[in-house]
Symmetry: C2
DNA sequence: AAAGTTCACGTACCTTCAGTACGTGAAGGA
DNA sequence: TCCTTCACGTACTGAAGGTACGTGAACTTT
């Protein structure tokens, strides 16, 4: 094999090829239905290369999931940060999540296989460092400024993120385009319920 | 092997043994970490017997999940049906779900591995025939009687069931016993938001 | 610049697992 | 009593994840 460029460059190229191709395959076929041989063939390398970069199939999946999580978090933050009002940041952020998460590619990796492959607690921890943190942050701010009734933040965070995850999965499978609007309306209604009187 | 009793009896006994032992193992180790050899050893049969009853490992898991789903649905219905008022049925049913689903055994099978092993849509369909149907039923009744603001039932159902699933998973991992109360309070507050003015 | 070291892989192999083919003996019917 | 059915047990296979070790180019050292 003709190795191009410096060693660090080559290393990075191989790693990215593995992550990119496995992300594609995991998303379309699901973690369990994708073999390592299929991945390395698509990436144009061998299993030796894969195990030089990742200690296991699950570790490779973790790398993919991290990438997906960061992308989702970024796209949500983009939308939310465009708003001035904290309350509007919450609402628009939630709506952005519902829109972004409709992508089946994101769904399978982030919402379906993620918890099963890495275990729920690890999956939770990863969420917490990306998009979950934003949600908790905004909710905390809103409680502090008195917009939302004083209460523990964590239960609220999990209730909302769970509601949105499930709704996103359902929306992806639904045919009626009106479902998205209906869901967002119901969600906003629930959010409004949290507001202090 | 000394087969006791009639053929139908024996058949049922082995099937139940397989379901019982695999349920135990799936719950404690997770679907992926349990081998069929381990299951048949625990059940006191061989792989021939397993594949005579179930066409695949996933099918065996499906049988286990069905059993778990029915148990959960029954326990919730028990609590909810004790109430006269439809609204109180919703509230007590939701609270019952949070309490029941705290069991790690139920969690791993029903909430973590279920969607990944069977695929989300099949998992959703199974839910729909058990506990999910009760929730949709009650919500529909409440909308019909005007207690809840008129709106499509499905989005609401998914938002709520998703919120409760995630909350249950979090509660199981949490240490603070006050978390359960906090979550139930937050949930009830969200439910109340749905009420027509 | 030559020799030595590191490292990013490739090759060959092992183990385990889900799944299959086929044999067997008791239950049930004729 | 004979024949069929069926609920398994036994023995095997292919594929999958994972490992041990070799190799040659990139870097370091002298």
């Amino acid at each position: 094999m003709t190795t191009r460029g410096t060693r660090a460059e080559q290393r990075e190229r191989t790693r990215q090829a593995l992550v990119r191709e496995s992300r594609r395959l995991f998303a379309t076929l699901g973690y369990g239905a994708v073999g390592l041989s299929e991945i390395v063939r698509a990436a144009g390398v061998t299993k030796g290369a894969l195990y030089h970069h990742f200690s296991s199939k699950a570790e490779l999946f973790r790398a993919v999931l991290e990438q997906v999580q960061e992308e989702v978090a970024e796209r949500i933050a983009e939308t939310a940060d465009a708003r001035e009002d904290t309350w509007e940041q919450l609402v628009s952020g939630c709506q952005a999540f519902l829109t972004v998460s409709t992508d089946p590619v994101i769904q399978r990796i982030m919402l379906v296989d993620g918890p099963a492959v890495l275990g729920w607690s690890e999956w939770r921890a990863m969420n917490e460092t990306t998009s979950g943190r934003h949600l908790a942050q905004v909710l905390g701010d809103l409680i502090e400024e008195g917009t939302i009734t004083a209460q523990p933040v964590e239960p609220l965070t999990h209730l909302l993120s769970g509601a949105m995850n499930e709704a996103a999965l359902w929306l992806a499978a639904s045919k009626d385009p009106a479902d998205l609007d209906d869901t967002q309306n119901a969600l906003v209604a629930m959010l409004r319920a949290l507001r202090a009187t």
